[in-house]
């Protein structure tokens, strides 16, 4: 992946940052908005989360149901495929393990497709959203998650490129196979691990 030197390019002064995946830069305080669709305005009372597919018991949670669950937080970094990373962010929400424990996944389930209330979708290996690695997030820096960043609630899978963290999360379907979502059908990688630079299909 090493590039051909560009005459005269020296780049920014660099301090080795072990938290920065290859090909990424530190966006500092910026948090760009990169939704492809019209931002939906979803009142919490109208928001629901459904988990179905290969599970023992399909479930739909309302906002109040979710807010009654034990919360936990993520403090760390996020990485966008467009090459910015953002350090030291804090999200609050409910671990996806809490939801999956309630529906009891079928042993045959290997993948999930996350759906947004807008119709956006993204696919993930089940192993990437279990074991404390994923959240249904509804606060950012202790404030309600803004609509343009996916409020009232979004998926948060911070160890993968951020397009996997579906905004305006509406549901998760468990499958026994992988099924490309919105950006994955548009040429992006099926998994999206920033540390392996899995940006596009074929990387």
């Amino acid at each position: 992946m090493t590039g051909h030197p560009t005459r005269g390019f020296v780049g920014r002064p660099r301090v080795h940052n072990p938290g920065l995946p290859p090909g990424q830069y530190d966006a500092g305080t910026d948090w760009p908005v990169l939704s492809a669709e019209v931002t939906p305005r979803i009142a919490p009372r109208d928001w629901t989360l459904r988990i179905d597919g290969l599970v023992a018991e399909e479930r739909t949670w309302t906002w109040d149901d979710v807010r009654a669950l034990p919360t936990s937080s993520y403090e760390g970094d996020i990485h966008c495929v467009t090459s910015w990373s953002k350090f030291g962010v804090r999200f609050g929400g409910v671990s996806l393990d809490v939801f999956l424990d309630a529906v009891r996944p079928d042993p045959a389930a290997t993948h999930v497709v996350a759906y947004a209330h807008t119709g956006y979708s993204t696919n993930l290996p089940l192993a990437d959203v279990t074991g404390g690695k994923a959240w249904v997030a509804f606060t950012y820096e202790d404030e309600p998650l803004p609509a343009e960043h996916g409020g009232p609630a979004r998926l948060l899978v911070p160890h993968l490129y951020f397009w996997k963290s579906a905004k305006w999360l509406a549901g998760l379907r468990l499958l026994d196979h992988d099924e490309p979502g919105f950006w994955e059908q548009n040429g992006y990688h099926a998994r999206g691990n920033p540390w392996e630079e899995q940006r596009y299909a074929g990387d």
Binding site: T2, F9, V10, A36, S83, Y120, W183
Partner: protein
């Protein structure tokens, strides 16, 4: 245990309408700078010869990479400004972003003959092949992918209706000012009319018998929010609004 099919309350633009080549998206290719054209005091167009370029659709973007002598690299996504053609060249039009690592290099250091690397084109979501009436709304350098569409329509003499609304602060900030014709309405926010894009600018596109538009909105997030809400207010279905936002 049959899963009821999940039906989201709204659906937005159908993905995969345009097939994307995975091969071109993953290969870094040499691109030699052949021309730099000043567009406005802050914006220039950079023309590159890319011998291996396999073509693109108007609205698609690429990843451009610069590499320092010590192996350090910086890469950014940029929209393609040029219409697809068979010249083996592509054009990018870039704002000179204050402190911008890549745009700063291209604006102040790069000269004709220098070599960078590109991979792409990427993503078919924002692309317009020219098959459906296009209502294009851009602000600042958000007009870049839309200009690729306009140039495409002209180059192929497409009969498909196309309307372009482009917002800029002043006439001097208006990128590609000389290229606009009757299809384009410039909206100047700090000169002449001195107001931002409003519903009455767009309303003539939504009269009875108007085309069934595919809308493409490109600009800062705040502009994209504003323009997309205007479109929704005028009755444009959300599943036919495609948005490209930049910070």
């Amino acid at each position: 245990m049959t899963a009821a099919p999940f039906t989201p309350p709204t659906r937005f633009a159908v993905p995969g309408r345009i097939a994307v080549s995975n091969r071109t998206a993953t290969t870094w290719q040499r691109a030699v700078l052949t021309e730099i054209r000043r567009e406005t005091p802050q914006v220039s167009t950079f023309r590159f010869a890319v011998p291996g370029w396999q073509g693109h659709l108007p609205g698609q973007h690429l990843m451009l990479r610069l590499t320092a002598e010590d192996g350090y690299t910086a890469q950014r996504h940029y929209s393609l400004a040029s219409a697809p053609d068979d010249s083996g060249h592509i054009e990018l039009t870039l704002d000179h972003v204050e402190g911008g690592e890549v745009s700063g290099y291209l604006h102040t250091v790069a000269r004709v003959g220098d070599e960078v690397e590109v991979r792409g084109p990427n993503s078919g979501f924002f692309a317009w092949p020219g098959d459906r009436p296009a209502l294009l709304i851009g602000a600042g350098s958000g007009v870049v992918p839309l200009m690729s569409m306009l140039r495409h329509q002209r180059r192929l003499r497409l009969a498909t209706p196309l309307r372009l609304f482009v917002s800029a602060r002043t006439r001097a900030d208006l990128i590609y000012a000389e290229e606009y014709a009757a299809e384009t309405t410039p909206v100047l926010t700090r000169e002449g009319e001195r107001r931002r894009l409003a519903a009455d600018h767009l309303a003539p596109c939504f009269t009875d018998g108007a085309p069934r538009w595919e809308a493409y909105v490109c600009g800062s997030n705040s502009f994209a929010e504003h323009a997309s809400q205007l479109l929704v207010g005028l009755g444009q279905p959300v599943d036919r609004i495609r948005i490209e936002r930049f910070g």
